[in-house]
């Protein structure tokens, strides 16, 4: 079979099965079974495929996935996440769109202690959206910042999907985790500037409401009592990695343990909410890991059939410059993000993308951070962005899907600007990892 036919079968076949509605993991399993029969020697290939499945997820580099998710779930289920909002709210004075600004700042802080975008968006949506709507915020001004900052969670460590990207692509996980910090913070700053400017131009979007202005210790108390200790989880994770006490993988366990210890010290960890957090963790990490198990032999079969090499040679011999090829890769990722979830995006594209990155001598951390921004965009892109659905799930009925789609558009534009910023100024992504790791 020619490499072109193999590429069509493997890449086209898996995409067709995905769109037919077969769960992602089973789509990859099905196409791998066919690939194993055709390219790995029939029955022997099928037995080999089964043996490969064990090694696919029995990998120490994947252990941060459940552990980072556990951190977010513990904070969410114990109610400690709420304290972050309270602590940040008291510090922010009267600015246009104050509550939306509070949501972005609190969301950024929460991103640094949670490894789950759903936990962040659901927490902010369920707590802040009703307050904003009750104070007369337009649904687009109330929902947009919450979804946008939820997506930024993926860029700011800890992030389960960043670990997965590092593990599947072979890019340094610790460099990727730290590489997402600056673009994530830049996005948060852009969001705040946008909210203030937008509300100044049209104050009806977020009517100014009276709020209790605390003075002295009362203003700082929740910040010192809750936010600083909780943010210390982030410091512990990054410091243990940077200082060489623990590998990135192990630092995830330290972060999860430290989160549980803090929750215990605050008296908010009960057997019931610990179990709820563990169940949430098992559900999200179980589904990600099962997709990896299903897709394990996919890149091997692509490579064995000659499809990977064929495609890489075709693209590298097309006369396009490396920058043009990278730009095209990002555009394809953004397009995939319209329909496909983040794990599938990685599994479909990385077997072709990474050999190209190596061939062109591109900085893998720079490439990886742009990949992350594209995946973060995928969380926000209509019609299937996960965070749009999460927001609809927690929003009251007066917030329609149309509001949510409209609300997210400026934040998509800002994410595209940051993507372009990283593309043209790689230091935005690679400076901090070079300094810290």
């Amino acid at each position: 079979m020619s490499w072109q036919a193999a590429a069509w079968l493997m890449l086209g076949g898996s995409t067709a099965l995905l769109f037919l509605g077969l769960p992602v993991a089973f789509s990859f399993l099905a196409i791998n079974l066919i690939g194993a029969v055709l390219f790995l020697g029939g029955e022997a290939g099928l037995v080999q495929l089964a043996r490969n499945s064990v090694g696919s997820v029995a990998s120490f580099s994947l252990t941060p996935i459940p552990l980072f998710i556990l951190m977010g779930e513990v904070l969410f289920h114990t109610g400690l996440a709420v304290k972050v909002i309270d602590g940040v709210e008291r510090l922010i004075r009267q600015v246009p769109g104050r509550l939306a600004v509070v949501a972005v700042v609190a969301g950024t802080v929460f991103s640094a202690i949670s490894g789950s975008t759903i936990a962040t968006t659901a927490m902010l949506g369920s707590l802040m959206l009703p307050v904003m709507l009750a104070r007369g915020y337009h649904p687009t001004m109330a929902t947009g910042p919450l979804m946008a900052i939820g997506a930024v969670d993926m860029l700011i460590p800890p992030s389960a999907l960043t670990v997965l990207l590092g593990s599947l692509s072979g890019i340094s996980i610790s460099k990727l985790l730290i590489g997402g910090v600056v673009p994530g913070l830049v996005l948060s700053v852009f969001f705040v500037i946008y909210i203030i400017a937008r509300v100044k131009l049209n104050p009806a979007l977020a009517p100014a409401a009276a709020f209790t202005e605390y003075r002295g210790w009362e203003k700082l108390r929740p910040f010192v009592q809750y936010v600083i200790p909780l943010v210390s989880i982030f410091v512990v994770v990054v410091a243990s990695m940077s200082a060489g006490w623990a590998t990135p993988t192990e630092s995830a366990a330290i972060g999860a343990f430290f989160t549980m210890v803090l929750a215990t010290l605050y008296g908010s960890l009960t057997r019931k909410n610990l179990l709820a957090a563990l169940r949430g963790t098992a559900a999200i990490s179980g589904l990600i890991l099962f997709i990896i198990l299903g897709a394990t032999t996919f890149s091997q079969i692509l490579s064995f059939s000659g499809a990977s090499n064929g495609l890489v040679e075709l693209i590298s011999g097309s006369g396009l410059s490396p920058m043009q090829v990278i730009a095209a890769m990002m555009l394809l990722l953004i397009f995939l993000g319209l329909f496909v979830d983040q794990v599938s995006m990685m599994l479909i594209t990385l077997p072709i993308y990474m050999p190209l990155v190596t061939k062109f001598g591109v900085d893998p951390v720079w490439f990886g951070v742009m990949f992350l921004i594209c995946m973060q965009l995928g969380l926000l892109l209509p019609p299937h962005g996960l965070l749009l659905m999460t927001m609809k799930g927690v929003a009251p009925p007066q917030v329609r899907m149309g509001h949510i789609f409209q609300a997210v558009l400026p934040y998509i534009a800002m994410s595209l600007i940051v993507l372009a910023l990283v593309f043209f100024i790689p230091a935005v992504a690679v400076w901090l990892p070079k300094v810290l790791v």
């Binding site: 769109f19 037919l20 509605g21 499945s53 120490f60 252990t63 552990l67 936990a119 999200i284």
Partner: protein
């Protein structure tokens, strides 16, 4: 049949709870390893050298223990854009096609993974890392999980038959 399906659901819940216990144990074990490696409080013990290997096995078992439970919850993500854009009856028909494919996949993998486990057992193959263990110990979890998935797909098809003539509301994305 309802009682059987409910009992099977409870079994899947127990498997998922075992998965939760693995996550908790993994967290504690890795922390103990890092602590003992950096703070030499026990003479001659510089960390738990087997911790990485056991964590890997736990991750693998977590995946297999939760997979059938997630299928019961409709938690295995998929792209449902086509299912939602066709008439409900057609979407329902596509669900049958999709279930048939998933069933075939799971049955085939059950068979070949059982063969792989048996071949490994017969050959006495060993996994030689920090710990030396028979290779079939881990491989044999694979046919068990895929058998559980195969059975759950049968129940899933039954629910599809008894339910409304429309596509299911399964999960569509990860977080």
């Amino acid at each position: 049949m309802d009682r059987l399906e409910n009992a099977y659901g409870r079994l899947l819940e127990v498997l998922a709870l075992a998965g939760c216990a693995l996550i908790f144990a993994m967290t504690l074990m890795i922390c103990a390893d890092v602590f003992l490696r950096n703070v030499r409080i026990v003479p001659g013990l510089a960390g738990l050298e087997w911790a990485n290997e056991i964590s890997e096995a736990m991750l693998y078992l977590l995946t297999l223990l939760t997979a059938p439970w997630l299928l019961r919850q409709g938690g295995h993500i998929r792209v449902d854009i086509v299912l939602r854009s066709v008439p409900k009856a057609v979407g329902w028909g596509l669900e049958w096609l999709v279930d048939a494919m998933a069933l075939s996949c799971c049955a085939v993998i059950f068979y070949y993974s059982a063969r792989a486990a048996f071949a490994s057992y017969s050959a006495g193959s060993l996994s030689i890392k920090t710990l030396i263990t028979p290779e079939w110990w881990l491989i044999s979890a694979l046919p068990v999980a895929f058998l559980a998935l195969t059975v759950e797909i049968f129940f899933r098809m039954r629910r599809l038959y008894l339910g409304p003539r429309a596509p299911r509301d399964d999960a569509v994305s990860t977080g």
